[in-house]
């Protein structure tokens, strides 16, 4: 973990405007933001660790615990909402036995809601990794999971 963090931070100069890019770099490397990494960033820039944590928690891009292997992003942008995105979300929650924002116990999936992934014409849309599933109805939830992880 420490090694990954150092690697992610090696290209920065330690300027205050690098806080968010640094957090992004660490998360790209480790999948989430471990506490030590936040402390490292604070030390590198010379600002309080509480401030870096405050900044990181403000943005929805950042996670503070390890995540599932596949990230299921259910679009609940306006177009997807009016075309039944919530029902798809309900169905996925039921299939996975977790709520939006949570990770399955086997760390296979985590479920999140996102706003407009820019494919409104295909609404309602679910994204798993780079795959986009469009024009979904709730009963396809299982299919989405199966296609995303062969072991499901």
């Amino acid at each position: 973990m420490q090694e990954q963090t150092s690697k992610a931070l090696s290209n920065f100069e330690g300027k205050p405007n690098e806080v968010i890019p640094m957090l992004q770099a660490v998360q790209d490397e480790t999948g989430y933001l471990p506490e030590e990494a936040i402390r490292d960033i604070a030390d590198l820039i010379g600002i309080p660790e509480s401030k870096v944590y405050g900044t990181a928690t403000f943005y929805s891009q950042f996670y503070f615990s390890p995540r599932g292997k596949h990230s299921i992003k259910v679009c609940l942008g306006t177009a997807c909402h009016v075309r039944g995105g919530m029902q798809v979300m309900d169905a996925l929650e039921r299939e996975l036995g977790i709520k939006a924002g949570e990770t399955t116990a086997d760390f296979k999936f985590n479920l999140e809601r996102v706003n407009c992934v820019g494919s409104c014409a295909l609404a309602p849309v679910v994204m798993v990794g780079d795959n986009v599933f469009g024009r979904l109805v709730p009963k396809q939830a299982k299919e989405v999971l199966e296609k995303s992880d062969p072991e499901v």
């Binding site: 506490e35 936040i38 309080p48 660790e49 509480s50 401030k51 944590y53 928690t57």
Partner: protein
């Protein structure tokens, strides 16, 4: 000087003064929650809104302009203010009886001023998540259900103590005052100076052992050379709390953890309250007169027999700077430069 008219009253204030300061000078009350005179302004609570030259502004931040006309009590201002306070109360654990701030609470004061009305409150959806208080710090605890997110503690920690152990974390309705990793305070860089506790307008920060004193006694902290002015809260013959003395030029009310919370020794049974002289191998209580006479005799004797440089003095870090100054004077007057200090040992 700028001339400002507030609710029909004329007042003159320095250029750069805020509407709030002008109103204060005119003796007109404007409710505030996130404003604190020791700190830079924040502008988040929005209960200090007034009408200035026809526009709604926050009095704590808006600077006056010459000839400005301020109204603090228009229908519109009242409505916005009232709704704001109602909204704060909607997610506030409002059981004042069990709160350490009861009767000294700023939120109570402001609620009373805007006129909270139970009929209106019935339409409001209340939502107070039960969150366990953070009681990790031995001196003071944090009750998030009473926190109004005014940020005074945060600014205090940054500006007054310079530690910045706490900051806002998360976003929107989920915003809270937090240390790195949303951990208990004891696992953070907090130095427990208690400056935040002192300024918190509500019961969100409260003493681990709440204490109401009978009377106050002014004194000086005995912990270090700074010599901060303190006020001892006394009950019977016991010291039950310490507050900083804002009138003291040395510290203007600020204290560190030792001065504010380290007063337990005062009431400790082991504490020496009388000087002791060893007689026949045993320490025996005695009077100051006897003890000082004893010291003078011994030191004069040593000086007479071995010369002044056979004497030396070691002073204490717990004396004030002034005391340390007098101490070295004393030894030099006795003819020696052998003076040292425990902090160097």
């Amino acid at each position: 000087m700028y001339k400002v008219t507030i609710n029909g009253l004329d007042v003159e204030v320095e250029q750069g003064a805020t509407v709030f300061e002008a109103a204060e000078k005119a003796g007109i009350y404007i409710p505030t929650l996130c404003y604190h005179p020791d700190l830079p302004t924040f502008g988040g609570c929005r209960v200090c809104m007034v009408e200035a030259d026809g526009k709604i502004v926050t009095a704590c931040r808006a600077p006056v302009t010459d000839g400005m006309v301020v109204k603090t009590d228009t229908e519109e201002v009242r409505k916005v203010r009232l709704t704001n306070v109602e909204l704060i109360l909607a997610s506030h654990h409002k059981d004042c009886q069990s709160c350490s701030r009861n009767n000294t609470c700023k939120l109570q004061e402001v609620s009373a001023f805007v006129g909270i009305n139970q009929d209106r409150m019935r339409q409001i959806r209340r939502s107070v998540e039960p969150v366990k208080p953070d009681d990790s710090n031995p001196f003071f605890h944090r009750d998030f259900t009473r926190c109004i997110l005014c940020g005074i503690c945060i600014r205090t920690c940054q500006e007054i103590n310079g530690v910045a152990a706490i900051d806002f974390a998360f976003r929107g309705f989920h915003t809270k005052v937090s240390v790195l990793g949303d951990k208990p305070l004891k696992d953070s860089q907090c130095e427990s100076c208690g400056e935040c506790l002192v300024r918190c307008p509500t019961g969100a920060l409260y003493l681990a052992e709440p204490a109401v004193a009978e009377r106050e006694v002014e004194s000086v902290c005995t912990y270090c050379g700074v010599g901060c002015g303190i006020k001892l809260g006394v009950r019977g013959d016991r010291v039950i709390k310490v507050e900083g003395n804002r009138d003291n030029q040395v510290n203007r009310g600020d204290l560190c953890v030792k001065g504010r919370f380290g007063f337990g020794f005062i009431n400790h049974p082991d504490r020496l309250t009388k000087p002791l002289i060893k007689k026949d191998g045993i320490f025996v209580k005695t009077s100051w007169d006897e003890a000082l006479d004893f010291i003078v005799d011994k030191m004069s004797d040593i000086k007479a027999r071995h010369g002044a440089d056979s004497l030396g003095g070691i002073s204490s870090a717990r004396c004030t700077n002034e005391e340390n100054y007098l101490f070295q004077k004393l030894f030099r007057a006795m003819g020696t430069n052998n003076v040292d200090h425990c902090a160097r040992l």
